[in-house]
């Protein structure tokens, strides 16, 4: 396959960026999208040019590092991560636009690499269960109904890639935040911090400069792990419940 790539190039956080055009040839349809970029970078290095910087690590769809907007879609045309996208999803002769996640809470570091540390701070604000090592009761002391366990798991699958924010017209982080809130709040182990968790995480999310939710649904469409839009509804419910409960205290 022969392709034309238009790639966002930006030297560093402070520099101006622009799209640059590259041609790549000899691309196999079995290649992953990132292997196609590897090919481009090998050529650029030999030509003495700066290779395209992009985040990637596990390349099996679980670490959440890869983060490209391909032809306007976060992670490209398939519902998966960029690393699991294969070139068979494209046609010979295609022009492909590759851009970084865009959101003011995710400033560009270089080229296609963005800073997603805002997500870490949302988790730090309350996305945990306080269980210091050694203090745990026997695992079978509390049974968890299977539907609750499955619900928790479904939300715990979030890989923190940020595609939800990238796809959201408002740059909102509601789907990410709700995934963690719902994972922990449904479990009996998460009950003692149920109210503070959702209130603190939502407050941190707002402080990081993410947008608000207009329920456009783009986030859930882009999510490679299929976190559903109703996850946000469930978090709203938790938030209202917590606000009422805390007000009563």
């Amino acid at each position: 396959m022969k392709l034309t790539l238009r790639v966002w190039r930006q030297r560093n956080a402070d520099a101006e960026g622009a799209m640059s055009t590259y041609q790549v040839d000899g691309i196999s349809s079995d290649m992953s999208f990132l292997e196609m970029l590897d090919t481009l970078n090998e050529e650029l290095i030999l030509k003495g040019e700066d290779p395209v910087a992009f985040d990637h690590d596990c390349r099996e769809g679980i670490c959440g590092a890869c983060s490209l907007v391909i032809n306007g879609d976060a992670h490209g045309p398939e519902r998966t991560t960029t690393c699991q996208l294969h070139m068979r999803s494209f046609e010979d002769g295609d022009t492909i636009d590759i851009e970084p996640w865009r959101a003011s809470a995710f400033p560009v570091v270089k080229d296609l690499v963005v800073d997603r540390s805002a997500f870490d701070r949302i988790i730090q604000a309350g996305g945990y269960i306080t269980a210091p090592t050694g203090a745990a009761p026997e695992a079978h002391a509390t049974a968890v109904p299977k539907p609750d366990a499955d619900f928790a798991f479904e939300h715990a699958e979030c890989i923190g890639c940020g595609a939800c924010v990238a796809a959201c017209p408002n740059g909102a982080a509601m789907l990410f935040t709700s995934a963690k809130v719902n994972h922990l709040n449904v479990l009996p182990q998460g009950a003692p911090e149920r109210e503070t968790r959702v209130l603190d995480m939502v407050a941190q999310m707002d402080d990081e400069g993410f947008g608000g939710c207009t329920l456009a649904g783009e986030c859930a469409t882009a999510c490679p792990k299929g976190i559903p839009l109703v996850s946000i509804t469930a978090m709203n419910k938790e938030w209202l419940r917590a606000t009422r409960k805390v007000a009563k205290r």
């Binding site: 079995d30 992953s32 030999l46 945990y128 745990a136």
Partner: protein, 650 residues
């Protein structure tokens, strides 16, 4: 047969002085009791550096901070949540015996020692089995969503190499869920101000002052700024070195720099040749391949592995009649069948492919067939159990595993070798600890499935936080060091020189081209089957590649910016040295054991033949300089509870 190889010398034996003697089930209690404690009020005066945020590093950082220590932690990823432990799929072992199927701490201990082909230290393995039980409790308390049964209790499944159901799991994402548990605990401590977290910062060297580990040199990957960090103890939790092979199931950026730099500063490196080749990976499709993807071993619970009986059979799998298929694992190992340990399953796949019976492009693959399971359990049940793995396979190969058998082939997956540590997980440099895959301690020559997660968390949550106290209590008054200290200046200068040199060569080959070349060499000569002559060839070739590397490497850009090519090249420098030691260790170990298969040492029916009288030791290597002869220190392995037998899974 004594080995004639001039390129190393044998030094004094190395011994583990920390492991208590006495009944094995009391040793861990004894050690914890004998270890000195640090007064809780004094803990915040101690700084501990933790490198890595995977299962071992994440759990250690969180636990040390909970105890009151000041933790300074590093990871090269943009977030501690992305450490490669996240990719572990299958599960985590624990001797809970919830199934009442005869499991016990002793059986897990026994299985692990046997599975490791009697090359692990009994004391450590027994402790691991004891702690396994606490890990599950800890993780459940953190909210890790393990699979549950309808009654609300935890579900378990069986895993390769054992006959009990002791593996706890969270669909095919157990590593992810456990890691997020540790990451969340870590996050809580970061928010509390007890951990100073440095993401996108890579350790490049170790600072050893007066014989003790006192800090590290690290590079901020965004600004390129190289800085020094000081502490009272340094914990390496930087993972394994499987990426020496270029193609492996490791993450692209997983690397050996932290452990190798520590080795260069004096820490012994043990059993570097013990690498695990995982039998169920998706075969490669071409030269562009950048990494290999693992399919959880749990697939072998229901999938049947086969190849055509005839060589060169090109028919599509569904046109090959039942009696022309060779379900070779079930044939050779009737009692374990498709569930034999990883090393055995991998080697068997290699053998049938070498016979010309491999399937798929290049004949480098075998079938993993779910037709029977789908017939027996129904498609829905299979989907429930393995749906995400099937989806992943379909995405990568564009084949539907529900109708066409999967093709699998072994790939480098895990390294059992690593920095030599004593019972306290301390390396031979006082104050330097190594935990998780970065150390060598618990798996011997082969790791059982679902045991890596167990070991990482055991080390991080329970072992290290108990043992590091002893070191810190015995070294209470570390003098403060500053960046002006001559040793610090020297280490910093060396690091900067290396970076500058990499940038200055301006040759005509990319970092990846060297990495790939080294990887292919290692896979051919130090992969699934190793020979004396092959290893000698590799040992001859590696220094040549190294020399060529320093002549022809091309790294664009500068050191004062985000420069992924520079990161890569700098890691390859270390692979090029480590690879040599791996081959040397493999050459020295003229026996077959676990994942290390020397063709010269096999039973008449082609199984690995151990040679206990000569090789019942851990080989701990001392660095003497790049390209110069290392010194071998042997740690004799004593088996008091599990008596070495030839492993049999027939």
């Amino acid at each position: 047969m004594a080995l004639e190889y001039a390129d190393f010398t044998t030094g004094e034996p190395v011994t583990d002085t920390k492991s208590p003697t006495g009944p094995i089930n009391e040793r861990w209690d004894t050690r914890r009791f004998e270890a000195k404690l640090v007064n809780p009020a004094n803990r915040r005066k101690h700084t501990v550096i933790v490198v890595g945020t995977g299962l071992a590093g994440g759990s250690a950082g969180a636990t040390l901070a909970e105890q009151g220590y000041h933790v300074v932690q590093f990871c090269y990823q943009d977030s501690p949540r992305r450490a490669h432990s996240i990719a572990a799929q299958g599960g985590i072992n624990a001797a809970k015996n919830y199934r009442n199927d005869g499991d016990s701490v002793h059986r897990l201990f026994y299985d692990t020692v046997k599975g490791g082909d009697f090359r692990a230290r009994e004391s450590n393995v027994h402790r691991l089995a004891q702690i396994s039980v606490e890990i599950i409790d800890q993780c459940v308390a953190q909210g890790v969503p393990f699979a549950r049964e309808y009654g609300g209790l935890l579900d378990t499944r069986s895993f390769g190499g054992v006959q009990v159901s002791r593996t706890f799991y969270a669909r095919g994402q157990t590593g992810q869920q456990l890691l997020l548990g540790a990451y969340q605990a870590l996050s809580r401590q970061i928010a509390a101000g007890n951990i100073e977290m440095h993401p996108r910062t890579e350790m490049l060297d170790l600072i050893v002052i007066d014989g003790k580990a006192r800090g590290i040199v690290a590079r901020d990957l965004i600004s390129g700024c190289i800085d020094t960090y000081f502490a009272d103890a340094v914990v390496l939790a930087s993972g394994g070195y499987g990426n020496v092979f270029y193609l492996s199931t490791n993450a692209m950026n997983s690397n050996a720099t932290a452990v190798w730099r520590a080795h260069r500063r004096g820490a012994l490196f043990a059993n570097p040749c013990f690498t695990q080749i995982h039998p169920t990976c998706i075969p490669r499709t071409g030269d562009h391949q950048s990494k290999l993807t693992l399919m959880s071993e749990s697939l072998r619970n229901d999938g049947r592995i086969w190849v055509p009986k005839a060589t060169g059979d090109q028919r599509p799998p569904n046109q090959i009649p039942e009696d022309e298929r060779d379900y070779y694992l079930e044939r050779i190992y009737p009692s374990f069948g498709n569930l034999v340990p990883r090393d055995i399953a991998s080697r068997a796949a290699k053998n049938v492919c070498d016979e010309g019976r491999g399937v798929g492009p290049g004949g480098q693959g075998v079938y993993l067939d779910f037709a029977d399971a789908i017939g027996r359990l129904g498609r829905k049940a299979v989907e429930e159990k393995y749906g995400n793995l099937f989806d992943m396979y379909a995405r990568i190969t564009a084949e539907d595993p529900y109708t066409v058998p999967m093709r699998i082939y072994p790939a480098v997956h895990y390294t059992m070798g690593g920095l030599w540590v004593d019972y306290d997980l301390q390396t031979t440099i006082p104050g330097l600890f190594a935990i998780g895959e970065a150390n060598f301690s618990d798996h011997g020559a082969n790791r059982l499935g679902a045991s890596a997660l167990m070991q990482g968390l055991a080390d991080g949550y329970f072992v290290l936080p108990a043992t590091i106290n002893d070191y810190l209590a015995r070294h209470p008054g570390h003098e403060d060091i500053t960046a002006e200290h001559p040793v610090v200046q020297e280490v910093l200068a060396e690091t900067e020189d290396r970076i500058n040199l990499l940038l200055a060569v301006d040759g005509d080959r990319t970092p990846d081209s060297f990495h790939r070349e080294l990887g292919e060499l290692m896979w051919e000569f130090c992969g699934m089957a190793r020979t004396d002559s092959g290893l000698r060839k590799a040992l001859e070739r590696i220094p040549q590649i190294r020399e060529e590397f320093w002549r022809r490497i091309k790294v664009p850009g500068t050191g004062e910016e985000f420069n992924q090519s520079l990161e890569k090249a700098n890691r390859i420098v270390d692979y090029l040295e480590l690879a040599e030691l791996m081959c040397l260790d493999a050459l020295n170990r003229a026996e077959s054991c676990g994942g290390h298969f020397r063709e010269e040492s096999q039973t008449p029916d082609g199984e690995a033949a151990r040679r206990d009288e000569e090789f019942s030791y851990a080989a701990a290597w001392e660095f003497t300089g790049t390209g110069s002869s290392p010194v071998l220190h042997k740690e004799d392995l004593v088996f008091e509870y599990v008596h070495p037998t030839q492993r049999s899974y027939a």
